[in-house]
């Protein structure tokens, strides 16, 4: 079922190639295996309200923008997602799992756009607050200074990513703590800097959790996010977002969680490595094969 093609993520869905819908249909459950209807209703994902009133971000983000952006766009993605996953193997999974599973290793299935946009919008509303802006402190500030040189340099890079994104999409500040997803690969010289802060952008609905990054901050640069308030002036929207709306406390809390998750994974890796080493020591010598034909042909 998994496919190796690395197609451009989140592209134009209208012209999806036929094989995609074929694989998607395979994920759907057989009629006989359907869960009782009540169980599926219970698994429905909810539209989460922003953690503040819809008019409280004014004048930086208007009530009207929130009415449409949260009340229509975000809501429509929740409804479409619930519709598309009902009766499939994705039904009942957590939102994170649905996003990663439906991304389908870069060959997204139909629910991906909606799952990722629900995730992105939940995350976006929580990233901002009335009276936001200012500067972070503590460990977040230390890592920003370590990885970007200064807070202002990070802001510049984030703004540039948001402004130079061609089309609809998102700009992100993420914490990377990737593990090589290759069974026996070991980082030859691990250092604290392997886990670092990075600014990146993603097209349309794509969310960095599909690349195994931990998102810390996101700005929506779809035009619907700012057009009613700022029209074509995306640059004004981006700078107001950073100056007046970002909740650095939330970003800071997310960083703590991301660091803890990375540390937990590192401990798991270490345990597994020690187990593997022990296994190798106890196993028989490995037989080796030499390909004599190859030697012959090279000698000619």
């Amino acid at each position: 079922m998994q496919h190796q093609t690395l197609s451009c993520c989140g592209g134009v869905r209208a012209s999806s190639p036929p094989p995609l819908s074929f694989r998607w249909s395979k994920i759907k459950r057989e009629g006989g295996r359907r869960l009782p209807r009540c169980a599926r209703i219970a698994a429905h994902l909810e539209l989460k309200p922003p953690p503040y009133s819809l008019s409280s971000l004014e004048p930086h983000m208007s009530r009207e923008t929130l009415d449409y952006h949260w009340g229509r766009h975000h809501r429509a993605h929740v409804a479409s997602l619930n519709n598309l996953i009902a009766g499939t193997d994705l039904d009942g999974m957590g939102l994170d799992e649905i996003v990663v599973a439906s991304y389908n290793k870069g060959n997204p299935l139909p629910p991906f756009v909606h799952a990722a946009q629900v995730w992105n919008h939940d995350f976006f509303w929580q990233s901002i607050k009335p009276g936001g802006g200012g500067r972070p402190s503590g460990r977040l500030m230390e890592l920003i200074e370590r990885d970007f040189g200064s807070f202002d340099r990070m802001l510049e890079e984030f703004e540039r990513a948001a402004l130079t994104h061609f089309g609809s999409g998102w700009a992100w500040l993420v914490y990377t703590a990737n593990r090589l997803d290759v069974g026996n690969a070991v980082n030859p010289c691990p250092s604290e800097k392997d886990n670092k802060l990075v600014v990146l952008k993603s097209p349309n609905a794509v969310n960095p959790i599909v690349w195994d990054y931990s998102p810390l901050l996101a700005i929506d640069v779809w035009e619907h996010a700012y057009y009613l308030d700022y029209e074509n002036r995306r640059a004004d929207y981006v700078s107001i977002f950073l100056e007046k709306l970002v909740s650095w406390e939330v970003v800071s809390d997310r960083l703590d969680v991301a660091i803890e998750r990375a540390a937990e994974r590192a401990r798991e890796d270490e345990t597994r490595r020690l187990e593997d080493d022990a296994e190798i020591t106890h196993s028989e010598a490995v037989e080796m094969y030499l390909d004599s034909d190859a030697d012959d042909s090279e000698a000619e």
Binding site: G10, G11, V12, R13, A14, S15, Y68, R72, H73, A76, V113, F166, G167, S168, G169, P203, N204, A205, W222, E223, H224, Y227, L228, E231, N232
Partner: protein, 243 residues
């Protein structure tokens, strides 16, 4: 090659006539001409052939003003900036810079090409906007899609289903003389979907094309834009390209 017609000296605007793609027939020297001429030919924002408010109520004057004066203008000036940097990079033999500039050229140059067609695709109702195509293009639509209604329905469905920013096109595949519906992402021009595809109609489904008036209800925008569609332009391009 069609690009050549879009390139003009900085000051004068493009003459109206049949539009940029009417002269796209076989020359094939557009880019070479550009490279040889050291006096760099840059793109210019074309004038509209109607007032900003003339397409209302299908498309509001405010949308048209921002769309033309801000969005299209920005594509033109960013394209020209990138072109000047490209010229300098080529003169220096700076391969890395030449390559780095490609995405800005594709995006902004594509934005200029697409919007130049889009303005010609629209026409106020009292000047014939929305009048269905007759003769050759009308027959070709019936042959390839069954009916004009079927074509409109297909383009609306594909436009509504397009995730993110992009365009939906009525295209002529020149060699087979066949009509197709295509979509392109962001500002990719139709030619990125096939070298022999000629755009007859392009509908902008970026949110900036409809948001102030239609908000999240993209299908209503798509339904209403047909009321100001300039089928006369599409027919002229069809006749000159399919001849």
């Amino acid at each position: 090659m069609a690009l050549r017609a879009l390139l003009t000296k900085r000051a004068p605007t493009l003459a109206s006539g049949l539009g940029p793609f009417a002269s796209a027939g076989g020359s094939g020297t557009g880019w070479q001409g550009l490279c040889h001429a050291r006096g760099l030919k840059v793109a210019a924002l074309p004038d509209l052939e109607y007032d900003y408010g003339a397409l209302a109520p299908a498309i509001s004057g405010e949308i048209m003003r921002l769309h033309h004066q801000k969005h299209h203008k920005a594509y033109v000036s960013n394209y020209n900036d990138a072109l000047e940097k490209l010229d300098a990079a080529m003169a220096k033999g700076d391969v890395a810079a030449v390559v780095r500039l490609q995405s800005a050229i594709k995006f902004n140059g594509g934005g200029h090409i697409n919007h130049t067609i889009f303005w010609k695709n629209l026409k106020p109702v009292n000047e014939g906007g929305g009048e269905p195509p007759h003769a050759t293009l009308g027959w070709a639509i019936d042959t390839d899609f069954g009916s004009l209604e079927a074509l409109v329905q297909k383009m609306n469905a594909e436009g509504a289903a397009l995730q993110g920013s992009g365009w939906v096109w009525l295209a002529l595949e020149k060699e087979r003389k066949k009509l197709l519906v295509e979509t392109t992402a962001n500002q990719d021009p139709l030619v990125t979907k096939g070298a022999n595809l000629v755009p007859l109609l392009g509908i902008d489904v970026w949110e900036h094309a409809y948001y102030l008036q239609y908000k999240n209800v993209k299908p209503d925008y798509l339904k209403n834009i047909w009321k100001v569609m300039n089928w006369k332009y599409a027919s002229e391009v069809y006749d000159s390209e399919a001849a």
